[in-house]
Amino acid sequence: MWQVIYEELRDQGLEIIAVAFDTAGRAAVEPKIRATDIAERPAMLAGLMGWDDALWARQAPPTYPCLIDETHLVAELYGMNNVPQAVWIDEQGRIVRPAESAGTIDMVRHLNRETLELPDAAVAEGAQARNAYIEALRNWVHHGADSPYVLPAAEVKRRLRGPGESEVLAATHVKLGRHFYAKGALAQAKKHFDQAVTLCPESWNYRRQSMMLDPENVGQLNAGPDFWAAVDALGDTPYYPPADLAPVR
């Protein structure tokens, strides 16, 4: 979906890098990116992610790098606990906005679980959040370091959750999990992903990945009973905390 934005902003110095946290690797990722599937992606996804009709109609296969991250390494490096999340990095390689929801709001809560439909009001709210985020991105590309959306280093550090022992241990389990998955040892792989989830219960990436490890589930949208039970267990905590776009001095 970001191809539309890329085409608009690449000549002004923006590069987009997409990273897929998918232990099943290319098998899971390729069908979601290559041209033939783009038109068949469910409209539900548009509403869920806040893409309005105008943008959705212009979707095209990406020409920016789309990378495959089987061990969720970038999630660990950047403190990403869910997808989709985004980080902004300036020309000197500094983080100017650390990991946050990439323009999505907590739409998952409004989804009708039987029909996978969204109420119109929710769709409108989602589009508004999405467009505000895109506006912020445009502003950064146009104004660089002067953009109010560029966070001072102190604020970047404040928002960054430094990993603890649980996080690095969980990431090591994921490394093992991916290794066993690649060897076809599914039960062993799942055991390590489950350990990672126990260690990092707030990581939706690990949780959703572990639910989707069966080869027959590869590439499917995770909308089964286990997933919904986990979402309900959040209570009032958002599934996708929206990006806090307020400028910080």
Partner: protein, 131 residues
Amino acid sequence: MTTILYDDRESAVDARADGAHLWLEAEALERATGWKLEPQGLCRGDACVQTRADWRDDAGRVDLAAFAAHLGQPMIADADTVAFGASVNARRDDLLSTQAPDFTLPDLDGTLHSLSDYRGKKVFLYSWGSY
């Protein structure tokens, strides 16, 4: 044969597990981890760590478990595979600098891309999953 997962390396080595210890020949250690046994200690890039006496056995092997523990790296063994993770301090140092940590990953065609390849551009790095 033991499979060692260290950083993004995967190596098959002869390793002797003995309680909490994991003994490797110096050559195997270097192959598996990139750390080379020099007179001044175990060295990698511009880092050198003085080797402690109890990290060596009589045959001159090195206890990778003890060395990793010294560096704060978690170690998890399962059957014949031993995986090592990053230390909390290494991860925290990255983040405190607010420098974006570098990484290298393949695209759909298998071509490797590093974040550092794009220095000089504004980078919008976003994550997604097929699930």
